[in-house]
C-alpha cells in the first residue's frame, strides 16, 4: 500500500537582522517601511502560502560593548505590522514572535485575540522565552529570570493566556436591540489564575475570536523546549531543515505527542529554510556561492570569529590566517543579545578544529567563516528545489518549510513564480485557499472541536 502524499505547508519569514539578509545588494529595500512588508505579504499570498512569519528582538545587539552595525539593524513592532498586514491580505496567516518574559499574559492575550478578530482568524503566536538581564534593561519589570525558570514561566504564561482566550466561549454577545440584552452573562470573561509566576483574576475584555485561540508556535530546541512544544504547541519553528537531522527531530517530537493525549497531526514541524534558485542547477550553485560571500564580508568574518574567540579580533586581517591565541573562556561574553553564541559550548576545541580546517584547506579567516557557516538549504533549478522540498516532506523530515529569503522585500518573488507552480503540479501544494482561517490552512482543529483537553489548559 502506498502512503498518500502529504500536503506541504509553506511560510515566508520576513528577512531578519542577521547576516543571512544581504542588505548590500542593489535590489535590497527597506526593512522598516510598510511597503516592504506589504510586498512580501502579497507575494506570499499570491503563492498561496500558509502564513507570514515575523521575528522579534527587544534590544539591539552589541559586540565588544558597542551596537553591532554590520547586519540589518532595527525593526518595527511585530503586532502593529501584523495588524496592518491584515488589511492588505485576505487569507495569509500572520505569525508573530512575542516574548513571554517581557510581557504580561493579560496584555498579550488581548493583543492576539484582537489580531485574530481584526484578521478574521489568521493569527499565530510564536512563544519565545528569554532570560537575559541585557534585554531586561529596556523593561520596567527589568531584571531577568534564572535560566531554569524560563520554561516554567513560558509554560505558565501560555497556560494563563489560554485561560484568558477560553474565558469567553463565543455565545455571550446577544446584542438583542429589542430586549436590550447585550451580554448573556455579566460574568463573561471571568478568570482566576493562581500560580508560581502569575497570580491574577478578573474579567478578560476581548470576546472569543474566530480561531478561539491563536495558533501556537514554539521554537526552542532543548529537551524542555521539545517537551513544551509536544504538550502545548500547534507547530514548531525548527532549525533542522536537512534531511537526516530533520527526520531525527521530526520523529523525536512526534513521538512525544501520544503521552500528552495528542495525535500525530496535532503538531506540525516547520523548519526554517534558505534557498538559492537559478535557471540551472549549476547557475544556482554559482549564485549560492556568491550570496554566501555577500553574507560574510571581511568585517563580518572577524565578528563571527569573535563569537568563538570571545576577544577583540579587529586587528586581524580577514584575508589572513586564524589567530594563534586561544579563545577567552570567561563568562562575560563579547556578544550580547544574540542567541547563537551560546551554541559554542567548547570554544577551545572549536578553535583547534577550525585552525586545522583552515590549514588543511589554505583558508583565510573569511574563507573559514564562509565555509563553516550555513549553506543554503535548497540550491538548484526550480525543478530541483521543488523536487527536493517534496522529497523531504514525504520522507518526514518536516511538514513543510518556513522560507527565509536573503533579499528584502523581493526575495520570495522567484520562488513564488517558479517553484510553487511545480509543487502545485505535483499535487502537493494548494492551488487555492480552501478555508479562511490559519487553522484551516494548517489542518488544525478549532480548539472547541479538538480531541481531548490540552495539557496546557
Amino acid at each position: 500500500m502506498t502512503k498518500p502524499l502529504k500536503q506541504i505547508h509553506l511560510a515566508a519569514h520576513f528577512p531578519g537582522v542577521n547576516n543571512t539578509t544581504v542588505w548590500s545588494d542593489p535590489e535590497a529595500g527597506s526593512h522598516i517601511e510598510f511597503s516592504s512588508f506589504a510586498h512580501f505579504a502579497r507575494t506570499a499570498e499570491r503563492a498561496k502560502f500558509d502564513f507570514l512569519f515575523l521575528a522579534e528582538g527587544l534590544r539591539l545587539r552589541e559586540q565588544g560593548g558597542k551596537i553591532y552595525d554590520l547586519d540589518v539593524v532595527g525593526r518595527p513592532d511585530t503586532f502593529t505590522v501584523l495588524a496592518a498586514l491584515a488589511a492588505v491580505t485576505e487569507h495569509l496567516g500572520l505569525t508573530g514572535t512575542i516574548n513571554s518574559t517581557f510581557n504580561e499574559p493579560y496584555e498579550v492575550a488581548r493583543q492576539f485575540a484582537s489580531l485574530d478578530h481584526l484578521s478574521g482568524g489568521r493569527s499565530a503566536w510564536n512563544v519565545v522565552t528569554s532570560w537575559d538581564a541585557f534585554t531586561g534593561e529596556n523593561f520596567r519589570r527589568g531584571g531577568f529570570l534564572p535560566q531554569d525558570e524560563r520554561y516554567s514561566r513560558a509554560k505558565e504564561f501560555l497556560a494563563t493566556a489560554t485561560e484568558l482566550f477560553d474565558s469567553w466561549h463565543g455565545d455571550e454577545i446577544v446584542a438583542d436591540q429589542e430586549t436590550g440584552t447585550f451580554l448573556r452573562d455579566a460574568k463573561a470573561g471571568a478568570f482566576v489564575h493562581t500560580g508560581q509566576h502569575f497570580d491574577i483574576h478578573g474579567q478578560f475584555n476581548v470576546p472569543r475570536s474566530p480561531q478561539g485561540r491563536p495558533v501556537i508556535f514554539q521554537a526552542g530546541d532543548s529537551e524542555e523546549g521539545r517537551e513544551f512544544a509536544a504538550s502545548a504547541a500547534d507547530a514548531i519553528f525548527s532549525r533542522y531543515a536537512a534531511l537526516k537531522e530533520g527526520q531525527a527531530f521530526y520523529t523525536d517530537v512526534k513521538n512525544r505527542l501520544a503521552k500528552h493525549g495528542r495525535g500525530h497531526g496535532d503538531l506540525l514541524i516547520l523548519p526554517a529554510a534558505t534557498f538559492a534558485l537559478g535557471d540551472t542547477d549549476a547557475e544556482a550553485e554559482e549564485l549560492a556561492k556568491e550570496v554566501r560571500r555577500q553574507q560574510v564580508s571581511g568585517a563580518t568574518a572577524l565578528k563571527h570569529l569573535e563569537f568563538v574567540w570571545n576577544r577583540d579580533l579587529s586587528s586581524y586581517d580577514p584575508e589572513g590566517p586564524l589567530p594563534d591565541i586561544d579563545p577567552d573562556v570567561s563568562d562575560n561574553h563579547i556578544s550580547k543579545g544574540r542567541a547563537q553564541v551560546r551554541m559554542y559550548r567548547d570554544p577551545l576545541a572549536i578553535a583547534r578544529e577550525w585552525r586545522e580546517l583552515a590549514a588543511a584547506n589554505k583558508w583565510s579567516i573569511r574563507d573559514l567563516v564562509i565555509n563553516t557557516g550555513n549553506r543554503q538549504t535548497f540550491v538548484g533549478s526550480p525543478e530541483t528545489v521543488a523536487r527536493t522540498i517534496n522529497e523531504y516532506v514525504q520522507a518526514d523530515a518536516s511538514d513543510g518549510f518556513i522560507l527565509v529569503p536573503h533579499i528584502t522585500p523581493t526575495g520570495l518573488d522567484t520562488f513564488a513564480d517558479k517553484v510553487v507552480p511545480l509543487l502545485q503540479e505535483q499535487g502537493v501544494f494548494r492551488t487555492e485557499y480552501e478555508g479562511t482561517t490559519l487553522r484551516d490552512h494548517l489542518g488544525l482543529a478549532h480548539p472547541d472541536h479538538a480531541r481531548g483537553e490540552r495539557a496546557a489548559s
Binding site: 542588505w23 548590500s24 522598516i32 510598510f34 506589504a38 527587544l58 534590544r59 539591539l60 558597542k66 551596537i67 552595525d69 554590520l70 539593524v73 532595527g74 525593526r75 518595527p76 513592532d77 503586532f79 502593529t80 496592518a84 488589511a87 492588505v88 517581557f102 510581557n103 504580561e104 493579560y106 496584555e107 484582537s114 478578530h117 481584526l118 484578521s119 478574521g120 529596556n138 523593561f139 520596567r140 519589570r141 454577545i173 446584542a175 436591540q177 436590550g180 440584552t181 447585550f182 451580554l183 448573556r184 455579566a186 460574568k187 463573561a188 470573561g189 491574577i200 483574576h201 478578573g202 474579567q203 475584555n205 476581548v206 470576546p207 475570536s209 564580508s297 571581511g298 568585517a299 563580518t300
Partner: protein, 394 residues
Amino acid sequence: MSPSSPLHLAVALDGTGWHPASWREPVARPRELFTAAYWADLVAEAERGLLDFVTFEDGLGLQSSHHLAPDDRTDQVRGRVDAVLLAARIAPLTRHIGLVPTAVVTHTEPFHLSKAIATLDYVSTGRAGVRVQITARPHEADHFGRRTIPRIEAYDSPVVTDLFDEAADYVEVVRRLWDSWEDDAEIRDAATGRFIDRDKLHYIDFEGRHFSVKGPSITPRPPQGQPLVTALAHQTVPYRLVARQADVGYVTPRDAEHAREIVAEIRAEQGTAGRAQEPLHVFGDLVVFLDDDPAAATARRERLDEAAGEPYESDARIFAGTPAQLADLLQELQAAGLTGFRLRPAVLGHDLPAITRGLVPELQRRDAFRQAYEADTLRGLLGLARPANRYAAA
C-alpha cells in the same frame, strides 16, 4: 487669510457611540463591533469629512458604568479590541486622517508602546498619535498582579497624582525612544560594511522613580519624528501632564468662561514646565446629538435615555441641536482659547455622518474648517512642525 482662524476637528470612536443605549438604535451595528470592516467604515466616513483625526477608546478591563469598579450590567456594550492594533488595521485603508489609539500607561511597558506607535506611524506614513490614559481601578491592577492600587473614592486622590507622575515619566521614555535613532542613522555603507552609523543611535538611560529604560529603541525614528501625544484632562494634575508632555490636551469645559479658565491654567503650567514657546493644542470634548431640527435632537436624546433607563451623564458637556447651533458653540469656545474639538458622537451611525455631512459643510461656509486635506502627516494637519531630534548634534 480668513478672519476666523480654522478650527481642528477630531472624533472619538467608541463602540456604537457614547450614549450607553446607542447600540439599540437601528443604525447601530452592535454585532460587528469586533470586525475590522465596521471600524473601516467609520474611519472612512470621518476621512470623507476631512477631520484631523479619530481617537479609539481602550481599557484594560471591561467597560463599566462605574468609574472605579466593574459593574454587572448586561444591557450595555462590553468588550473591545486593542486600540493600537485596530488603528494599525485601519491605517492602510486610509490616506489622510490621523489615527490616535488610546493606550493605558499604568501597567504596560513604555518600550513596547514606543515601538508600537512608531510602527503605527510607519504603516500610516506619518499619521500616528497616541492618547495616554492612566487607570486607578484596583480590579484592573488585579489583571496584571504586579502591584495593588488602593481603592479610592475619587480622582483627586494622591494615588492618582502618583499615577499621573508615572505617566509623565512614561511619556518621557516613549518620546526619548522615538528620538533614540537619528533620522540618518541607517547608512548602508558598502565600503565599510556598516548598515548603521552607530554614533547616531543613542541610549536614553532613563532612570525614574517608577522604572528605568536603557534604549535605544529597536525601531528607527518614525516619519513624524515625534508622533502626536494626547491626553484627556479634567483637573490640575492631568492638566500638568498635558502641559509637560502632550501635543494635544482634551478638556471638558462647561461653557466659554470655564474654557477660558482651563486654557489659562494649562498655559501657566506649560510655562512652568518650560514649554511656553512650544505649540500645544487644547481641544474641547463634547458629546453631540445632531439633527437638522433641534427638537428632533432633543427627542432622540430623551428616547435613548429612556431606553437606558436613566439620563446619560458625561464628564463632557452634552450638546443636542443642529449643526449650525453646534458650529456657533464651537466658534464661541474657540474664541475662549480652544484650538479644536474632539466630538463624541452619541450614536456613531447617526451623529458621525451628521458631523461630516452637516457640521463640516457649515463650518466650511464660515471659513472655519479646511476644504481639503492640506498636509500629508498628522502633525502637518495640526500645524505642528517635525521636531528636531533631541540627541542630534545641533
